[in-house]
Amino acid sequence: MALLKTVNLRKQFGETRACDGVNFVVNKGEFLSLVGSNGAGKTTLVNLISAHLQPDSGQILFDDRDITFTTVTDRIKAGIVRSFQIVNLFDGLSVFDNVALSIFSRDGKAVQMAALADHDYDVRREAIEVLGEFGLTNKIEVPAGGLAQGERKLLDVAVAYALRPRLLFLDEPTSGVSTHEKAQIMDTVSSVVRRGMVTAVVIEHDMDVVFRYSDRIVMMHEGSFLADGTPDEIRANKGVASILLGAPLAS
């Protein structure tokens, strides 16, 4: 059951083909990893799907509906949500506000001017619940700018998750954190996502993480798909391993 489909998606920057006719399928309910070396085109693909970039050609279908030319807001409303590789938080706002804002925005309450944000108990309850799921309960009053790197990563996912997406893209949710934090983050993220029955696509470098948490792994190289399969299938694929370690394809 395909939730998302791209058809021959292309995007070129100068002479670099960041997305070279990609046909990408995400099935409902799966936890999928997108892997590949730096510059393979993973982030570009997510940017295209989230309407951060416009494709040069090709089609994007969500729930069998063509959304290629819809806006960011439309796609969020449809349920396509993403986080960012470099943590993108509202540093001047508290941890609580960061998450609450997602809920306000989702519920169309963000335009309310005459109500105190802290006094919306429905939103409050939900925000605290979400933060609880991500293990950030003790930090709710801290400004997001004052969090440690690992917590920022978690909050970044929490902000996206609070939008209650149907399809969640996480761009390197564990980059820049220590190994043991990494496991913690991935444990938290994957359990929350699975519990919430959210379809998730994770861009990730760490193959241990990828193998451990993914239902399916798609590998990109130079703008196109190189491999697609379960962790076991990918593990067995020799080409993949050499690419990831940086050897030229031919060798």
């Binding site: 390197e172 220590s178 940086g246």
Partner: protein, 238 residues
């Protein structure tokens, strides 16, 4: 030692990025800094070039302390630099991009030696650049920009050339061309410090390499040792 970095701590804004990093580059040596995105390679490089101030630690270049010198004074002492995004001035022609380095080279000991035409050496490395001199920076392709960036750093007549992700986003054939260039440059008596995310690629060029992870040097040694080191491989994969 040509370059000695001793236990530097560097911050980006409030974030503590480098934790006591020490590296060195010797004369006639190609040294690679290997690490994943966000590991701290670029921060090390910017600490060496002076674009980021270091909080503590020491940087010596040709046995002189340069820790608190501004970037332009370091460049004049012979540190050439080609950044990750190549840093080509978009509204300057390639000739003008090269000129800046050439003028400065005339004021340096090394640049003044010989006929002073430091561009000529740059052109021997990348003859293609000669055809591009009238183009504006913004009209170059990514690969061309990278070539010009290296040529420009060469025109400075450096003792040390620092390349940050010099091969990123290049077609395999072009990468090969760049690797040869590195060897040519080394043969000219210029040491290189190369930042790479790709261990195998780095290993083919470097005499020595450092593996960086989370702002620390986690491995230091010959490329073969690195490739053989399971821990290193794990770090680099994730």
């Amino acid at each position: 030692m040509l370059l000695e970095v001793k236990g530097i701590n560097t911050y980006r804004g409030p974030a503590h990025i480098l934790h006591g990093v020490s590296i060195s580059v010797d004369k006639d040596e190609v040294v690679a800094l290997v690490g994943r995105n966000g590991a701290g390679r670029t921060t090390i490089i910017e600490s060496v070039t002076g674009l980021l101030p270091v909080r503590s630690g020491q940087i010596l270049f040709r046995d002189e302390e340069i820790t608190s010198l501004p970037p332009h004074r370091r460049a004049k002492r012979g540190i050439g630099y080609a950044p990750e995004n190549s840093g080509i001035f978009p509204e300057l022609t390639v000739a003008e991009n090269l000129m800046i380095s050439r003028w400065l080279a005339q004021k340096t000991e090394r640049g003044a030696a010989g006929d002073g035409n430091t561009e000529a050496r740059a052109f021997t490395v990348f003859p293609e650049v000669r055809q591009l001199v009238d183009r504006q920076g913004q009209n170059l392709s990514g690969g061309q920009k990278k070539m010009v960036a290296i040529a420009r750093a060469m025109a400075l007549a450096p003792y040390l050339l620092i390349l940050d992700e010099a091969f990123e986003g290049l077609a395999p054939a072009v990468v090969k061309r760049f690797r040869e260039a590195v060897m040519t440059i080394k043969a000219m008596g210029i040491s290189l410090l190369i930042a790479e995310s790709n261990l195998v690629s780095a290993a083919t060029m470097a005499d020595r390499l450092y593996v960086v992870d989370r702002g620390e040097i986690v491995f230091h040694g010959k490329p073969q040792q690195a490739l053989a080191d399971d821990q290193v491989m794990r770090t680099l994969r994730g």
